[in-house]
């Protein structure tokens, strides 16, 4: 009697606390994901009245889609550089802004602001900067490389995307790093200073090891977001010049909705999902090994 009452209580509190978010999660994420996975085995199209199961042929198409793999490696490169530079910059900013710089709260706010602007707006702003401001600067200074837009050359367009990504996320990651810096116990710092550690030594031996949790979070954020970049890609380059800057998400979107190859697009999305999962999980596991207890 008592046991079953307790069970009912438990179910009740579970439904109250977990129910709403579980339903939302299932409806917008879990079910579409599973249904989408099922669609990869069909030749579905919203236009045709019926569709058939086609087995694994969509996946076969994915592996023979040269364009997809070209963009795959381009995306890897984009993710790598934006992760590295963004974290580097964020770390340096956080380091400087936790020391006693004048007006550091204002500066923190300033560096964080880009993150409050949506990717689409940001893309259009930077498109204007690259196309008009930078080229003007080029013609004023006479510096040849700047006279043509960054966005009309395949390699430089990727560089432009990395620049904007770094600009957008550095402030956000900076906040996480600042929290990391502030969270380092004072006694350990003082102990190291008494032992004679200064500047670089203190940073490398004390600060960085104790900040591994911040690194894990920041790397994870950049890797997972980098792979799924779409809004910035759309607004800044829209795949131009000549389709060379279509990152994976955009390629998948175009495959599904513009080439009307839903099954293939969805199969490519699954490949992207697996890639992101592998990259993110292995990154977390790897960096976790560097974690130390204070």
């Amino acid at each position: 009697m008592d046991r079953s009452k307790r069970l009912i209580n438990k179910i009740g509190s579970f439904v109250i606390f977990m129910g709403p978010s579980l339903i939302a999660f299932s409806c917008v994420l879990l079910i579409p994901f599973l249904y989408g996975f099922y669609l990869t085995f069909t030749d579905y199209s919203p236009i045709s009245i019926t569709y058939d199961l086609v087995g694994l042929s969509n996946y076969k198409e994915v592996f023979s889609d040269k364009e997809f793999w070209g963009q795959f490696f381009k995306t890897l490169r984009y993710v790598f550089y934006s992760t590295v530079f963004c974290n580097l910059l964020a770390f340096i900013l956080a380091y400087l802004l936790t020391s006693n710089i004048r007006g550091r709260n204002f500066l923190r706010g300033g560096f964080f602001t880009p993150n409050l602007i949506g990717g689409i707006v940001l893309g259009y702003i930077w498109k204007f900067i690259f196309a008009n401001v930078v080229t003007q600067l080029g013609s004023i200074t006479g510096y040849e490389a700047l006279t043509t837009s960054f966005l009309t050359h395949p390699e430089r367009a990727i560089v432009a995307m990395i620049i904007v990504t770094v600009w957008q996320y550095a402030g956000y990651l900076m906040l996480i790093y600042i929290a990391g810096f502030v969270g380092i116990p004072k006694d350990i710092q003082e102990a190291s200073e008494i032992d004679g550690a200064t500047g670089i030594t203190k940073l490398v031996r004390i600060t960085i090891p104790l900040m591994v949790p911040s690194f894990i979070i920041c790397l994870f954020i950049m890797i997972s977001r980098g792979f799924m970049t779409y809004d910035l890609n759309l607004a800044l380059t829209n795949g131009q010049p000549y389709g060379s800057t279509r990152l994976l998400s955009m390629h998948i979107y175009q495959k599904a909705f513009q080439a009307n190859e839903y099954g293939i697009g969805q199969a490519e999305a699954i490949v992207l999902f697996v890639t992101v999962a592998i990259a993110a999980v292995s990154q977390v596991l790897l960096t976790k090994r560097f974690e130390v207890e204070a």
Binding site: L7, S26, I49, Q240, A259
Partner: protein, 449 residues
């Protein structure tokens, strides 16, 4: 341990509950996509129909038109589903269909008409008698696989636009006759004369829809005056029995593209493709010609201190003045109105047919299109309308029968102009040569099913 087990069971139960609650909805939509029976609406309540519009620049025109229609026929309410330029129009339409809410009307590109063929109501002389008022050839444009599925409502054209003031300054007032540009050599001489006067001769808009969708398509369309000439050529490339590089027309158009690129106002950085910037430069007379269509007018009129007199020159592809395409400009029916039969009741379909008839053939309906500056391909349109200079130029070519039939454009699938257009842009900046371009185009067509 026990606790954990019970949590897992609970989660499993909750998930299955949610799953079972949702599954009927998702599987249902795939099966009930067929015809809908008419159980809805009693005769008293007004018929509500929806209109999906992809001509984003005239959303307000349609709104006004539907308001007026409702004043005359209070028992029909037409609801506009507007879309914006670059707003994912295809995706929106697809989601409407996938969710079983297909719009009663849709105003779409010809390629969409083919895609949605199975869902569309066929226009016949019985249900749409007003279609007999359409100009010759206009109905053919809306005929797909032998069935009239789309009702045309506007005509657009493209070619080499020229700024009359700039050209007159070089040649002297009234001395330039666009009909003299009927060979590539003549075009070259024309360009050289303009450049000698210190004005860049032409401008290419470095976007794949212009260089790919419009320019490259010429080399299919000019294969012959019939739509089947163009589609037949594409079919041969698809089957591998023809190579695009073996066509003298393709080679000719590429030679002309080289010439245009040589005199391109955007030569220093050809792929910037900022439409407003290009329009402004052309309207201010910074270059003499522009490969574009009469839709440029809509963007152009919003600018200040610009020239207003323009005309079209053909884009010659050979040095033989008699070749098809050298003295013609492209005339195209860019949008069609279609009625859905698969997800709308017969009453709704009938209401849509009546409304469409009013829009396209009654003077009051037509007036809305005329006021918006459209040239309607219907015989009973009032003939005292003054159009803008670009549309006038196109209609002059049309009256002389000097137009290129771009019918094959309708059969070009969704991503053709992006994919082949990207190759064209690569060629334009010299990243690939013509052989690689031709190979890329052949490969693209062969990859399309």
């Amino acid at each position: 341990m026990k606790r954990r087990l019970s949590t897992i069971i609970l989660v499993a139960i909750a998930i299955t509950l949610v799953l079972t609650a949702c599954t009927p909805g998702t599987t249902g939509s795939t099966k009930t996509n067929g015809e809908v029976d008419s159980t809805a609406s009693s005769s008293k309540s007004p018929v509500k129909i929806t209109y999906f519009n992809t001509s984003a620049e005239v959303n307000t025109m349609f709104e006004d038109m539907f308001k007026r229609y409702n004043e005359i026929y209070p028992d029909v309410v037409i609801e506009l589903i507007p879309t914006g330029i670059g707003e994912g129009q295809q995706e929106k339409l697809q989601s409407l269909y996938a969710s079983g809410n297909a719009p009663t009307f849709m105003n779409v590109d010809p390629a969409n008409v083919i895609e949605y063929e199975d869902h569309l109501l066929e226009f016949t002389t019985e249900n749409a008698p007003w279609l007999s008022l359409a100009s010759d050839g206009a109905v053919d444009g809306g005929t797909f696989g032998g069935k009239v599925l789309g009702a045309p409502w506007s005509v657009q054209g493209y070619g080499l636009l020229y700024n009359k003031r700039v050209v007159d300054e070089v040649f002297g007032e009234g001395n330039f006759d666009p009909a003299t540009i009927n060979t590539r050599d003549a075009l070259q001489k024309f360009f050289e004369k303009i450049e000698a006067a210190g004005v860049p001769a032409t401008m290419l808009h470095g976007a794949n829809w212009s260089i790919g969708g419009h320019y490259l398509t010429l080399s299919y369309a000019v294969q012959g005056p019939a739509t089947s000439d163009g589609t037949g050529f594409i079919d041969k490339i698809k089957a591998g029995t023809a190579k695009i590089e073996d066509s003298p027309i393709f080679q000719g158009y590429m030679d002309t593209l080289d010439l245009l690129a040589k005199h391109n106002y955007n030569k220093a950085d050809p792929l910037v493709a900022d439409f407003n910037k290009d329009i402004q430069a052309f309207a201010e007379g910074k270059c003499a010609t522009f490969f574009m269509g009469d839709w440029a007018w809509t963007s152009l009129v919003t600018l200040e201190n610009i020239d207003e007199e323009y005309g079209f020159i053909p884009v010659p592809w050979s040095n033989n003045p008699g070749d098809y395409g050298n003295t013609e400009v492209v005339m195209v029916l860019p949008k069609f109105q279609c009625i859905n039969k698969s997800q709308n009741t017969p009453e709704q379909q009938q209401a849509a047919l009546d409304a469409l008839g009013w829009m396209l053939s009654e003077p009051e309906g037509q007036q809305f299109f005329i006021d918006a500056g459209f040239f309607m391909p219907y015989k009973n349109v009032r003939d005292d309308v003054v159009y803008n200079s670009m549309t006038t130029s196109i209609s002059e070519y049309a009256q002389k029968g000097k137009t290129i039939n771009l019918g094959c454009f309708s059969y070009i699938s969704g991503d053709a102009w992006t994919e082949t257009g990207n190759l064209m842009l690569k060629y334009l900046v010299g990243a690939i040569d013509r052989d690689e371009l031709a190979k890329g185009i052949n490969d693209y067509w062969q990859s399309v099913k």
